[in-house]
């Protein structure tokens, strides 16, 4: 019965301490969160090329945007995104043309491995799998 009393004491003390500790930690984290709020000055507002050239700042842009891609050549974010996708796809097509079957990695990233060695290694790995 003594042991049971000790156990109950451990339960109350132990869980109490764990809760208090984690509550303190929660308060610390919340305080850190408050201090870490983004300041308005850090927001990069979207600017069109014309306004950049004119040295003007566009007013009334969304405060919720962290960063908007803008370009001095006058391309819109949509155009930049489309060009990025096209470049990535082109690189992918070139990679497949260069090594149709076996090369998974970017050209030049595995200078030590020839196409045939890579293929052999791949086949070996496949064999060992169930």
């Amino acid at each position: 019965m003594n042991n049971l009393g000790w156990g109950l004491e451990m339960l109350a003390l132990g869980m109490g301490t764990v809760f208090v500790l984690l509550f303190v930690l929660m308060v610390v984290l919340m305080a850190m969160g408050l201090l870490d709020r983004p300041s308005r000055a850090r927001l990069i507002r979207p600017r069109a090329a014309e306004t950049i050239e004119a040295g003007e700042t566009e007013s009334g842009s969304s405060d919720t945007a962290w960063m908007t891609i803008a370009d001095a050549s006058g391309l819109t974010p949509e155009q930049i995104a489309a060009i990025s996708v096209a470049v990535a796809m082109h690189a992918d097509v070139r990679r497949k043309q260069g090594a149709a079957v076996n090369r998974v990695h970017s050209p030049g990233s595995r200078l030590w491995a020839s196409r045939w060695v890579s293929m052999g290694r791949g086949a070996q790995m496949q064999n060992s799998r169930r």
Partner: protein, 379 residues
């Protein structure tokens, strides 16, 4: 050929014991679980191998010509002095992203609720006749955290490290099997389908760096006994978030963690020697460990229900179950159950926050347990 030569030749066969044979079968079972079922293979496979090697007749892996053998050396090197669990914690810290927790600090309290099983199991173990230090060691299985279990039981009851470690890691791998039925019993379909809006908040690198330092200082000052666990966990995380020691972070995540896991597994396996392991007590430890896990889940879900009540029905109580330390399996299971109730329900990020909190909370609970029982054992 004289009798002594014959004895030497057949020493292995002559010294076979039934306990040794049973433990070799147990070792084979662990290896089978690791390979066929993929239950924590990184640890169960070396533990199984260590168990078989230690139970061989006249195992020279344990003692060789009066000198400690390889397994004994590994045990003395890292388990007896608690080094290996702490090194593993550096690796875990380097692999863990505490971002979801930093985004939603309220989830920290769910981590605390997930530790109830430790203390409830401690009471049950006392009722079954275990000594207080043994009961505390068994209870710590409820932390559902291998390194914490090894660290605490190694200090409080070193003779029980073997079964406690096996129980802790086995049940961690059974998270997807053990947790869902409990979660379904304790919650209604409507509760499981509660959707919680999630708005991602960018956490600056400054905050990510301050977090491990702040946690170490807060815990180190308030509960010094938890400092080894929390300090190493946060050291790994600091290396990760600083982004200036990529090589050290990579080494902690890969080489260090892999080597220490192998050594730890073999050393733990070597403690599973037949005459000490085959006891009714071992069976109780395994059963109580399972109970501790279930109680953690129950208390987590109940705490989730309390938060649901306080929030006016906006909190999904399933997230409470993620407050245990099994990271990130517990969060994944919570998401699966929420999806089953409503396939457009996405609570993973909330659950990850609670799960990361469970990671910190389990290390804290281990330290608190050591602090409360220190006068009994630690001289």
């Amino acid at each position: 050929m004289d009798a002594e030569t014959l004895n030497n030749l057949f020493a292995g066969v002559l010294n076979l014991s039934w306990q040794g044979l049973v433990m070799m079968l147990v070792g084979c079972l662990l290896i089978w679980l690791a390979i066929a079922k993929e239950y924590e293979p990184l640890l169960l496979l070396p533990i199984g191998a260590g168990c078989i090697l230690a139970n061989m007749p006249l195992s020279t892996m344990m003692v060789s010509d009066g000198n400690p053998g390889m397994l004994q050396v590994l045990y003395d090197m890292g388990v007896g002095n608690e080094l290996f669990p702490l090194l593993i914690f550096i690796g875990i810290g380097a692999m863990t992203d505490f971002g979801p927790l930093l985004e939603n600090p309220r989830m920290v309290l769910l981590g605390a609720a997930g530790q109830f099983g430790i203390f409830l199991t401690l009471i049950l173990a006392l009722l079954l006749g275990f000594a207080p230090n043994e009961a505390a060691s068994i209870g710590v299985i409820g932390a559902i955290d291998g390194p914490t279990s090894i660290f605490v039981s190694g200090k409080l009851a070193p003779e029980m490290v073997g079964p406690i470690t096996v129980a802790a890691y086995s049940y961690m791998s059974l998270v997807p099997i053990i947790m869902p039925p409990i979660m379904r019993i304790l919650t209604t379909h409507k509760e499981r389908a509660i959707k919680m809006p999630y708005s991602s908040r960018e956490i600056s690198q400054k905050t990510r760096i301050i977090f491990p330092i702040a946690v170490t200082v807060v815990v180190g000052v308030l509960v010094p006994f938890a400092l080894p666990l929390i300090g190493t966990l946060m050291l790994g995380n600091l290396m990760r978030e600083s982004k200036v020691v990529e090589r050290l972070t990579g080494a902690a995540q890969n080489e260090l963690n892999n080597i220490v896991t192998l050594f730890l597994g073999l050393a733990i396996g070597s403690t599973m020697v037949g005459d000490k392991f085959i006891q009714v007590q071992t069976l109780f430890i395994l059963l109580l460990g399972l109970l501790a896990f279930c109680l953690d889940t129950v208390c987590g879900v109940l705490f989730g229900k309390l938060m649901n009540l306080l929030s006016g029905g906006k909190f999904n109580p399933l997230i409470g179950a993620a407050g245990i330390s099994a990271f990130p399996m517990a969060a994944r299971v919570v998401q699966q159950e929420a999806s089953k109730a409503d396939n457009s329900n996405f609570v993973l990020m909330h659950a990850m926050g609670a799960n990361a909190a469970g990671q910190v909370a389990s290390a804290m609970a281990g330290g608190v347990l050591l602090a409360l029982t220190s006068n009994m054992v630690i001289a």
